[in-house]
Amino acid sequence: MPVPLEASANPPTNAPLMDRFRTGYRWMLLARMTEEKIASLYRTGKIVGGVFLGKGQEALSTAVGMSLRKGDYLAPLIRDQAARMAFGEPLLDTLRTYMGVRSGPMRGRDGNIHRGRPSEGVLAMISHLGAMVPALAGVLMAHRFQGIQNTIGATCIGDGGTSTGAFHEGLNLAAVERLPMVVVVANNQYAYSTPNTRQFVCNDLVDKALGYGIDGHSADGTCLQSCLEVLQLAADRARSGHGPQLVVASLLRLTGHGEHDDGSYIDPLLRKTPVGRDCLKLAEEKLLANSWATPAEIALWHSETQQQIEDSVAVTLREPLPDPAHEDWCALSNRHLAEG
């Protein structure tokens, strides 16, 4: 029997690649299958509002989550189901947030990808892209003020998000303050329908690191090994006092911008280039080719993961929805300062 997946049991970062790869694959699988379930719940009308998935980006996202330790901070973005889980966010948090039930971390007040638990090191993103970069910088400044050592923060952003003022200001500030921050750009070639040619004209987004005076790293976003290695290097360098690290990974979003979108604007030729490969399939092939896992083991992981998801969905579907009559309509922690 495989050991159940727990972020606290992630192999240490100096563990052999095989161990980390096996665990990484399982996080990818959990993220992919969870999102497939969310998509099917959305199609049957069980989820109201947007559904934005990370299909094709799980290798990178997993590596981000696995590069962090307890006490670190993660500021995930749209397509970071895998990073969240690999960092320790419970599956139920995902489902409860999408369903909007009261028991979830967002209690029906916010949905989908906007969930977080700041007290457990997961910032709750706002939709406004770029905004999380300076916010994470602030977390790391706080750690410095408080004498908390050896913690780092990681945040993710898309190719489109790099065009925001907040991204620029946040990264520059982090560089000036020499903060232990890893900023991961998932260059999936499009921002909604907008191709990179309408987003930036530098050769490679990683070149921006030079302008900020920080380290830059490139990763093959379709390859789990590349992502694990590059994220580990970046995390180690951030942790050992080398300041912010910019990681740029190339890949392709293998789904619509959201589930309402068929992505028909994506150049079909791109799917046939290396960035268009499915990272999950590649990881599975590598597990088998290197004899890092047997086909029977992989099949078991699949069925166990499926069962875990079905069980959690069944729990969530039974949980109470928010009730406006019993909602605490107070936006301030100081109740006496709130107006009715």
Partner: protein, 320 residues
């Protein structure tokens, strides 16, 4: 039948056709036709004049300001009104101050897909008209009908000042009209959308339709409620509001945005100051709750006013 959304698209097409100074800039507005399809086919109909921008609201609005100063008539689309706050500085400190500071007007039109829809949550639901109306130097439009969406957008482009065009996402597909108008009331004039003598409900944008439904409901109870559609919240047509209150003696102002300050406060303040003697009852206002806009429909449904809560509020007013 033409929808509110199609009217917005048609107005932009006409503006592009009639005026070579017009261009459209925003995220995904080109070949994709915009997140809501408000610019569908315009990029191919008007080559080189409907352009995808980078994901940079500050620069989108900043560049539109510069282009306007140099003789163009930019129409800028924010993907959601909520994201205009990233360009807030350019709007309120730059576009809004130019004419007063330099005598040079700044004819930009900034389209804000506004307001709540089920499941949209805190960052894709906001109504920011009050925020922008607060600043001197801006015109703020809030069309509630297909006809107004069309005519007022065309007027927005023609106006020499910066215009914040708040189009309601809920109305995009829900609202239909037989045809586009050939003439319309000018910006700055409110419209009596329903006549009555017992009370006046002042509203605008999507809330107008909730107010009309409430008036319909109240009619079954024998009340004749007048409903005023502000159309533009800045300038705000105080005369039409006062004239209505003079007929009814009772006022309820309804808005979808947050309760502190805002359009409904402004309406009440003006009527209280200029028409106190017209009032037979304390004026009332109904807004969203004082929390961010919630995600789950159960919460969202009671966060903003609805026909039911408006009718309830109006009953209290009528029975005062």
């Amino acid at each position: 039948m033409i929808t509110y959304l199609e009217a917005i698209r048609a107005a932009q097409a006409k503006a592009l056709r009639d005026d070579p100074r017009v261009y459209i800039y925003g995220q995904d507005v080109g070949a994709f036709g915009g997140a809501f399809k408000a610019t569908k086919n315009l990029a191919s109909e008007f080559p080189g004049r409907v352009l995808d921008s980078p994901l940079s609201e500050d620069a989108i609005i900043g560049s539109a300001i510069g282009a306007a100063l140099a003789g163009m008539r930019p129409i800028v689309e924010m993907q959601f009104a909520d994201f205009s706050t990233v360009g807030f500085n350019q709007i309120v400190n730059h576009a809004a101050t130019l004419f007063w500071r330099t005598g040079h007007s700044c004819p930009v039109t900034i389209r804000l897909p506004s307001g709540g829809t089920a499941g949209a949550g805190p960052f894709h639901s906001q109504s920011l008209e009050a925020l922008y109306a607060h600043y001197p130097g801006l015109v703020v439009l809030t069309p509630a009908t297909v006809e107004d969406a069309y005519a007022m957008l065309l007027e927005a482009v023609a106006i020499d000042d910066p215009v914040i065009f708040c189009e309601h996402k809920y109305l995009y597909y829900h609202l239909k009209a037989a045809e586009l108008p050939s003439e319309a009331m000018p910006v700055g004039k409110a419209r009596v959308a329903r006549h009555g003598r017992d009370a006046t409900i002042v509203s605008y944008s999507a809330m107008l339709h909730e107010a009309l439904a409430a008036a319909e409901e109240l009619a079954t109870e024998g009340w004749e409620v007048e409903v005023v559609d502000l159309r533009s919240v800045k300038p705000l047509d105080t005369d039409t509001v006062l004239a209505s209150v003079a007929r009814t003696g009772r006022l309820l102002a309804v808005g979808e945005s947050f309760p502190w300050g805002g359009v409904t406060s402004e309406v009440l303040a003006r009527v209280a100051a200029e028409g106190f003697d017209l009032l037979d009852a304390p004026p009332r206002r109904l807004n969203a709750r004082d929390t961010p806009v919630p995600y789950h429909p159960n919460l969202w449904g009671t966060h903003r006013p609805t026909a039911v809560t408006i009718a309830g509020e109006a009953r209290s007013l009528l029975n005062f």
